[in-house]
Symmetry: C2
Subunit: 146 residues, 2 copies
């Protein structure tokens, strides 16, 4: 989670909404992949941190699913990313700030409570919540300051 | 849509669930991108047809949003893809078969009706529905035949 925070801060400096996700293998105690939001820099609306981290981890493992891995992300995932976490069979999802506007885990469509949900990870929200919130708040304040 | 059906059929022969998506620019009357499901072949759980078609179209246009484009897809999008269509600001979404188990437009979490939805495209479902359903049915029957 510490690494996720550090990287999210860097992403903010690159003009991206500062969100970072890491895929972690708890048995090997190894970070498999770390990615930040790249939608603007890559001109790719699907390039959220979680999607990029999952794609990189699957590439490294040469497998389309990561049942032995957990994900740490600084913000509550949106519907796209929450579904990707499910498709990747991520074991545990730890996230930082809650996102009432864009989140899809504890807010919005609450994807994992949906009647047609497929696989649901264990979810732990609010890890380093204040720090994650502050990171986003500072980013948007700086953006709006001429 | 015709091109989407042809490509979906080819994807089925490659061992992928036969789904194809195309991004179309109605003003220029031009297909911007066409992609099939590649999750197994690419070891990438996010490599659904819609995600790949959006990524390719955005790359070609060097833009993270496609407000002048429509999407044609043979199956009702899942939550991940429905959210990606929204992030990409796709104007109109045309889809073939309805998917009560995995769909997130007319089924499941009904993403575009969610209280926190961001952008909602115009949606037209059931285009070539029977053909799209038959394509999937044949694929799964073949898969289960020893």
């Amino acid at each position: 989670m510490e690494k996720a925070f550090e990287n999210a801060q860097k992403a903010g400096k690159d003009g991206e909404i500062p969100v970072c996700a890491a895929v972690f293998d708890p048995l090997r105690r190894e970070i498999v992949s770390v990615a930040v939001n790249r939608t603007e820099n890559d001109s790719d609306p699907t390039a959220h941190a979680e999607i990029l981290a999952i794609r990189e981890a699957c590439k490294k493992r040469n497998a389309p699913r990561l049942p032995d891995c957990d994900m740490y992300v600084t913000l509550e995932p949106c519907p796209m990313c929450a579904a990707a976490v499910s498709f990747a069979r991520i074991r545990r999802l730890y996230f930082g700030a809650y996102s009432p506007k864009t989140g899809a885990v504890e807010h919005g469509c609450r994807l994992y409570d949906s009647p047609t949900r497929l696989y649901v990870p264990e979810v732990y929200g609010g890890f380093g919540e204040k720090r994650a919130e502050q990171l986003l708040k500072t980013f948007f304040e700086t953006l709006r300051t001429p």
